[in-house]
């Protein structure tokens, strides 16, 4: 019972924050709004820690705390409850969401203090946290879907937060609709699962998940998981539905940190890990996931190389890193995917907040070509940003190193992996190192290109404290899940992460695992190669963008077509608009014009014209000549009489 109260407080505290700030949305007092909102999330964070401690106290096999509040939809065989569950997977998500969330709320107080809509902003942010908590805690796919759509709604509202800019409002709409495409598939996936297994509860589904692998592409499990995965591509910005995420950078920067880096976009990965027994049973789906993940990782990284907007670089980097997570779950390395989800939440939130601090200092300037040399003005931001940078490029013993290395190794060694997947992953890592170093070099290092009217200054403590905390987490968080090979080398550190998740992760079938054997030396070699290449790439980028700018310019000149292709993001937006959206709108107009106006209404008018014209025809009989009327009467009489007489 006390669990139930704990979970209720955890959920309702951000909701309450949302309502309080929502009802006083006109207020411009950023102190009150910020305090209320941050406190609300902090309360949730405390609850999350308490729940985590309680989980720790339980035996590993039965680590599960459930809270059943009320029956939500009951019809036929469908029983969906407002019930929430905290277990190994969701407790990690809880800590990330509320912990990083609280830091970002704190950061926002400083970042948004000048904004007129600050109260509204904080209410949306709280509402987002509420929905995100529902998403991770829901005990069935439908409850998850509530949060799933709810975070989409908050994302819509927050991207379009500065709605008077038409482009920003459009970006919000784009995010919502792209997500809706995924959600439609998600719904179908749910239906297939429900009609096949008769339940939508995660635990029941996982227990019912077939242990024999489904070979067919059209089997129920494969189809259902594919549909769910399409849903995930929408929410987690994977090919083909990633297009909304770069545009989503129109929102305030802390929003990008919270929603579009740390939490919401990882929902797809979370969903797959939640249902991992189901996905394991569908090797074809897993293959698709791995390929899409790897392709996204590489493609987004290539676009990131040429972006000049600090947030756009980070956005494409997010898409790319999410690709890694999908690559991981696609090859069956659910633990590694989850691990990368966490480390990425730390270092990417850190870097987004850092970019926020930069943008704040630069008076809303986001173009990195107009920055440079910011190191001396923003020491804290610069230092923490370096931590994030080292984590993301996989510098040894930073958090990103452990998680990314594990993913790369699994993509090679897992029975569902492939050498090409490893190659793609390694290529992505090289590109990541390049563009992140480029970002660092252009923003913080080298000569200052800052406009003379702008005087950058370090941000207030509300903004730097979150940076420092996230910086520390980016450094150390990797050590809770040290991969086997490195652990050997570092003196047998236990892999707490794998141990923690083991009860809820279904391993690949034993016969598959036995079919491949890999040695430790292979692992060292591959790790060495990828780290070495990434470091070379980072050094190269450092040299190019601090000392020898002309190399970059010359390369861009000589590879003009490729540069343009990347600069225009492979023209994907143009293709979507040109091939789908614009024709659809145009055809809709034709549809309306030809079917409604020209067929249905015309037919109606023809019918009414027949009546009118018929009336006009008969009207001539009534010409006002009374003698003629009398004539009709007499004629009628004669006809009737003759009929009667002759009968």
């Amino acid at each position: 019972m006390d669990h139930q109260i704990l979970i209720a407080v955890l959920l309702l505290s951000p909701l309450l924050g949302f309502l309080i700030n929502g009802f006083r949305f006109r207020s411009q007092s950023y102190v009150i709004a910020g305090t209320v909102a941050t406190l609300a999330v902090t309360v949730s964070f405390v609850c999350s820690i308490l729940l985590f401690i309680e989980l720790l106290a339980l035996p590993a096999e039965s680590r599960r705390i459930t809270a059943h509040f009320f029956e939500w939809i009951n019809l036929g065989d469908l029983n969906i409850n407002a019930a929430f569950v905290v277990d190994q997977i969701s407790s990690i998500m809880l800590l990330i969401i509320t912990g990083v969330g609280a830091l970002i709320h704190l950061f926002s107080i400083g970042y948004m203090h000048h904004d007129k809509g600050v109260t509204k902003y904080f209410s949306y942010l709280n509402f987002f946290v509420f929905n995100m908590l529902i998403l991770v805690l829901g005990d069935s796919l439908v409850t998850m879907f509530v949060g799933w759509e709810g975070v989409g709604l908050c994302s819509y509202l927050l991207i379009g937060f500065w709605f008077s800019d038409s482009a920003k409002a459009a970006a919000g709409m784009k995010a919502f609709i792209t997500n809706r495409v995924g959600d439609a598939a998600f719904l179908l996936g749910m239906f297939i699962l429900f009609m096949t297994f008769g339940t939508l509860n995660f635990y029941e589904l996982n227990a019912l998940a077939p242990t024999t692998m489904e070979a067919s592409w059209l089997g129920a499990v494969t189809l259902a998981t594919l549909m769910l995965f399409i849903g995930a591509t929408g929410k987690s910005a994977q090919i083909p539905l990633y297009v909304w995420l770069p545009d989503a950078m129109a929102g305030p920067t802390p929003v990008s940190a919270l929603i579009h880096a740390a939490t919401m976009v990882t929902a797809g990965v979370y969903m797959i890990i939640r249902l991992n027994p189901m996905f394991v049973a569908a090797p074809n789906t897993m293959m698709v996931i791995a390929i899409v993940g790897a392709a996204t990782a590489v493609m987004a990284a290539t676009i990131g190389v040429v972006q000049n907007d600090i947030k756009k670089v980070l956005a494409y980097s997010t898409v790319s890193q999410l690709g890694y997570m999908f690559l991981a779950v696609g090859v069956g390395a659910f633990g590694a995917g989850m691990m990368h989800l966490m480390t990425h939440a730390f270092f990417k939130a850190l870097m987004f907040l850092g970019s926020g601090s930069v943008i704040h200092a630069m008076h809303e300037e986001q173009d990195i070509r107009k920055m440079g040399g910011l190191r001396k003005y923003l020491p804290v931001t610069h230092f923490t940003f370096i931590l994030g940078w080292l984590a993301i490029i996989g510098f040894p013993f930073f958090s990103g190193f452990f998680s990314k290395d594990e993913i790369l190794w699994q993509s090679f060694s897992s029975p569902r992996g492939h050498t090409l997947l490893w190659v793609a992953g390694a290529l992505g890592a090289v590109l990541t190192a390049f563009y992140m170093t480029r970002l660092m070099a252009l923003t913080f290092w080298g000569k200052s290109r800052v406009d003379k009217n702008i005087h950058p200054h370090e941000s207030p403590w509300t903004m730097t404290v979150p940076l420092i905390i996230l910086g520390i987490l980016s450094v150390i968080s990797g050590f809770i899940g040290v991969p086997h090979a490195i652990a050997e080398f570092m003196g047998h550190i236990p892999n707490y992460w794998q141990q923690w998740l083991a009860p809820v992760i279904r391993p690949l079938p034993i016969e598959e695992l036995q079919s491949v054997t890999h040695t430790l030396s292979e692992e060292y070699m591959l790790m060495g190669i990828s780290v070495f290449l990434a470091m070379c790439s980072a050094i190269f980028a450092y040299v190019v963008y601090t000392k020898k700018k002309h190399i970059a310019e010359n390369t861009a000149q000589s590879l003009k077509p490729i540069y343009n292709l990347l600069d225009n993001k492979y023209y994907v937006d143009e293709i979507y608009f040109g091939a789908i959206i614009n024709p659809l709108v145009k055809q809709s107009r034709n549809l309306w014009y030809y079917i409604d106006v020209n067929v249905i209404d015309r037919m109606t008018h023809v019918a009414s014209d027949v009546a009118t014209n018929g009336g006009k025809l008969v009207k001539t009989l009534q010409n006002g000549n009374m003698q003629q009327y009398a004539m009709y009467v007499s004629l009628g009489l004669i006809i009737v009489l003759s009929y009667v007489l002759m009968r």
Partner: protein, 515 residues
């Protein structure tokens, strides 16, 4: 006094509005007319809530029945009763009434008395058609509802009101004449089951076994099925019989649009549920594919066409076509999810589309324009209005935790159970629905200040006031219902579960007990 327990509560519900109409038409004071009408509608709501309180949701039987002979020779009687299918629609009607009266407080300034009389007569007719259990009685109420609506659009409507109202009238009339023919035909069949006497009672109709030959169009059941189905399909309106709706909506005054979208369209879907499916089970199953296909076409077509409408009301009208397509889809997939979802979606659509029309009415009162392109940046000028509009929009595009989600989710699930292909088409409606609604929201509320907002900034006379207390009072019940129905759907679905299960389990030989 315990009105609810007395057996004549249904007659009270049906005829109280007529009495109110009479009192209003002789009321001497012009100033207090609106207050009086509002009070009356609240009394009516209270009476209907008594019905809700005393309703027994554990049975599918017909409750609170009353039967008096009306025209003995033809077996026509005044026969009313309520079950889980009609109960919620009755409540919907009585709930929307005070909201509509409060919503028309400012917008109707001429012939106020006549307007309220028409509104109450209309309410009486709609309630009568939901509660009538006698075919002729049903037909009388069905037709009666046309007349006040005709005047509401024709007198208080917009510029092309005569065209719209005549179109509306003729479309519906054409359909209902077919229905009348079918009713008379069925009455002639009833001696088979009553032992010699003609009867117009629906319960006797249910007992009829009308011959059906699959594939042969000219068999009695098929013909009767189509006669009824066309009448109801026009009212729903089902593609391709929908073109009267956008015209009627655009020209109708705000309360007219609300009642049209909120309740009158439901008379069509209710007709399918109460008459067509139980009376003609073989034909309904055999031709289900046709109605499912038309429903799907309606969903997608309505959404696509809504996307390009320049007029807010027309956009919402086409969205109605799309939403009602879902209802038809849910009814004809004939499983518990589809039907339960459909019944729920009828209420949702009444509330959310009604809410949208009310909101559009409020903005129209201020600016006298419904052209989307003239707006833009309204969110800055009218923040409270924006909040309400977005909440209702979310309900309309079925975001979870609003009522729309529950209905749409169940219907889609029902569609999946029927066929995978159908559900694929149906879910595209989910995407398109978000597209046109958000497009409208974006162009009205977001972006730089548009023509109207700019004009209001410079001209103190045209300043845009945010929602008044009265307007908030209009919208608040709608918003509460949206969230209540989204969070606790069981509290509402429980009333109809028995009736729906009963219908699905006894489709071939449907009958209703009288309790």
């Amino acid at each position: 006094m315990n009105i609810g327990a007395s057996s004549s509560i249904l007659s009270l519900i049906i005829f109280l509005p007529l009495l109110f109409a009479l009192v209003i038409s002789f009321w001497p004071q012009r100033q207090t007319l609106r207050e009086l009408a509002l009070g009356f509608s609240l009394i009516q709501l209270a009476v209907s809530l008594l019905l809700l309180r005393d309703f027994d949701s554990t049975t599918a039987a017909l409750q609170f029945t009353e039967q008096f002979t009306w025209i003995e020779r033809f077996g026509i009687s005044y026969f009313v009763g309520v079950d889980g299918i009609s109960l919620m629609l009755v409540i919907l009607t009585t709930v929307l009434m005070p909201i509509m009266i409060l919503g028309s407080w400012k917008s109707i300034s001429e012939q106020v008395k006549g307007f309220h009389v028409a509104l109450f007569v209309l309410q009486s007719a709609m309630l009568g058609s939901f509660l009538a259990m006698d075919a002729i009685l049903f037909y009388v109420f069905w037709e009666l509802s046309l007349i006040p609506m005709y005047f509401i659009v024709g007198i208080w409507g917009g510029a092309r009101r005569i065209y719209a109202t005549v179109k509306f009238f003729i479309y519906t009339m054409a359909g209902s004449l077919l229905m009348l023919l079918a009713i008379i035909f069925m009455m002639r069949l009833t001696p088979e089951v009553t032992g010699g006497a003609i009867s117009a009672s629906l319960l006797d109709f249910y007992k009829l076994e009308i011959p059906f030959i699959a594939g042969d169009f000219f068999t009695p059941q098929t013909l009767l099925f189509f006669a009824f189905a066309v009448a109801f399909a026009i009212k729903v309106p089902l593609f391709p019989l929908h073109t009267w709706l956008p015209d009627a909506h655009v020209e109708a005054p705000t309360p007219g649009s609300v009642v049209l979208a909120g309740v009158m369209l439901k008379m069509g879907t209710y007709g399918f549920l109460r008459w067509v499916i139980p009376l003609f089970p073989d034909a309904s199953s055999h031709y289900a594919w046709l109605f499912i296909a038309l429903g799907l076409v309606g969903i997608i077509y309505g959404a696509l066409v809504a996307m390009i409408q320049p007029d807010m009301k027309k956009l919402v009208a086409y969205s109605s076509v799309s939403h009602m397509g879902y209802v038809i889809l849910g009814l004809f997939v004939m499983n518990v999810y589809g039907m339960g979802g459909s019944l729920y979606q009828m209420l949702n659509h009444g509330i959310s589309t009604g809410g949208l029309f009310l909101l559009i009415g409020m903005i129209y009162e201020r600016t006298h324009s419904r052209e989307i392109s003239k707006y833009g940046g309204l969110a800055a000028a009218m923040p409270i209005f924006t909040i309400f509009f977005i909440i209702v929009t979310m309900s309309s595009i079925a975001v979870p935790l609003t009522n729309g989600f529950v209905g749409e989710f169940l219907i889609l699930m029902g569609a999946y159970q029927y066929s995978f292909t159908a559900s694929i088409f149906a879910v595209t409606g989910v995407i398109l629905g978000a597209t046109y609604m958000l497009w409208m929201v974006k162009n009205i509320f977001f972006g730089p200040a548009g023509e109207i907002v700019k004009a209001s900034e410079h001209d103190p006379e045209h300043r845009l006031h945010d929602m008044s207390k009265r307007e908030i009072a209009v919208m608040l019940p709608i918003v509460i219902l949206i969230f209540w129905m989204g969070l606790f759907p069981n509290t509402i679905m429980d009333y109809s579960k028995q009736s729906i299960n009963h219908l699905l389990q006894n489709k071939q030989n449907y009958s209703l007990e009288v309790k």
